[in-house]
């Protein structure tokens, strides 16, 4: 948003003006986004707007972290 070092609460209040998708679309795309990430593919280019949504939506961000962690656990099992 800006080079200014904003208080985290202000950042969460103001959000970002980056284009982002909504929660439903995030859920639809989350599986392929995480697989792109784990494959080292440019997930943010391939699924535009999802990263910005994760920054603004703590609930979707938690589920993204969990899906990634679960798949990483699978890969070492």
């Amino acid at each position: 948003m800006t080079g200014r070092d904003l208080d985290p609460t202000l950042k969460r209040l103001l959000g970002s003006n980056e284009p982002e998708i909504g929660c439903d679309e995030c859920f639809e795309q989350l599986d392929r986004y995480v697989e792109f990430e784990l494959a080292g593919a440019p997930a943010d280019e391939l699924v535009p707007g999802l990263r910005a949504h994760l920054v603004g939506c703590p609930a979707c961000a938690e589920e993204h972290e969990s899906l990634r962690a679960l798949l990483e656990l699978d890969s070492v099992s």
Binding site: D7, T9, R12, L13, L14, N17, P58, A59, E63
Partner: protein
């Protein structure tokens, strides 16, 4: 009792599920379909337990059996969701990854709602004033005072009452969006859109008040 003693047995989490061809039988009739649904349930229960275990810190009052019940309920609901949405699976990811997300969603929503079940959600508009106590240090407070004032004014004057309610609850009160959705008889997607619109209005107001960098 230590936290690890109150959690469900997650030793099974180390066991990765097997091959995925069985998912092709999920809509089959008879024993083939039943076996595929049982496989699906096992897969989703594993994911739900994983999620409940990760979030157990928000539910210190629950013992191992109650946490596992929560995971079981999440897995049951996720099976229903997956079967209902089977036609939407287009193979853009592996079936396992696609199915996992349903269980993680169900489990995380249940954990958040259980954690807030007995907690009051402050929805009165005046609670936005808690922004003044949001932890700004003395130096930061001085540096950001004018910006803070613009944000406070914007919350008060630029937002609709519903937008103010949602923004204040979600950001200042830390209420999970799924809990808000439940209390406001809405859903996550609709509330996030409202939050997004509120933030956009607030940025526009603050930019107009002399801080155009918030919209850069």
């Amino acid at each position: 009792m230590a936290a690890s003693d109150t959690n469900p047995d997650v030793s099974a989490l180390a066991q990765a599920p097997g091959l995925e061809e069985w998912h092709l039988d999920l809509d089959a009739e008879g024993i083939c379909g039943d076996e595929a649904v049982a496989q699906l349930h096992g897969l989703l229960l594993r994911a739900a337990r994983f999620e409940v275990f990760r979030r157990r810190g928000s539910l210190p009052q629950l013992g191992a059996a109650e946490l596992d019940d929560l995971a079981q309920e999440a897995a049951d609901d996720a099976v229903v969701s997956v079967l209902r949405r089977l036609g939407d699976f287009r193979g853009e990811s592996s079936f396992r990854t696609w199915a996992y997300k349903f269980a993680l969603l169900e489990a995380s929503v249940k954990v958040r709602r259980r954690a807030w079940r007995d907690r009051e959600v402050m929805l009165e508009p005046e609670h936005w004033e808690s922004l003044a106590h949001s932890g700004l240090g003395p130096d930061d407070a001085a540096e950001n005072a004018a910006l803070l004032e613009a944000v406070r004014d914007g919350i008060q004057t630029a937002l609709t009452p519903r937008q103010r309610q949602v923004l204040v609850a979600a950001v200042l009160e830390g209420v999970p969006i799924d809990v808000l959705a439940e209390r406001l008889d809405s859903n996550r997607n609709a509330l996030y859109k409202m939050l997004h619109d509120a933030r956009r209005r607030l940025r526009a107001y603050v930019a107009e008040a002399g801080f155009p960098e918030v919209n850069e």
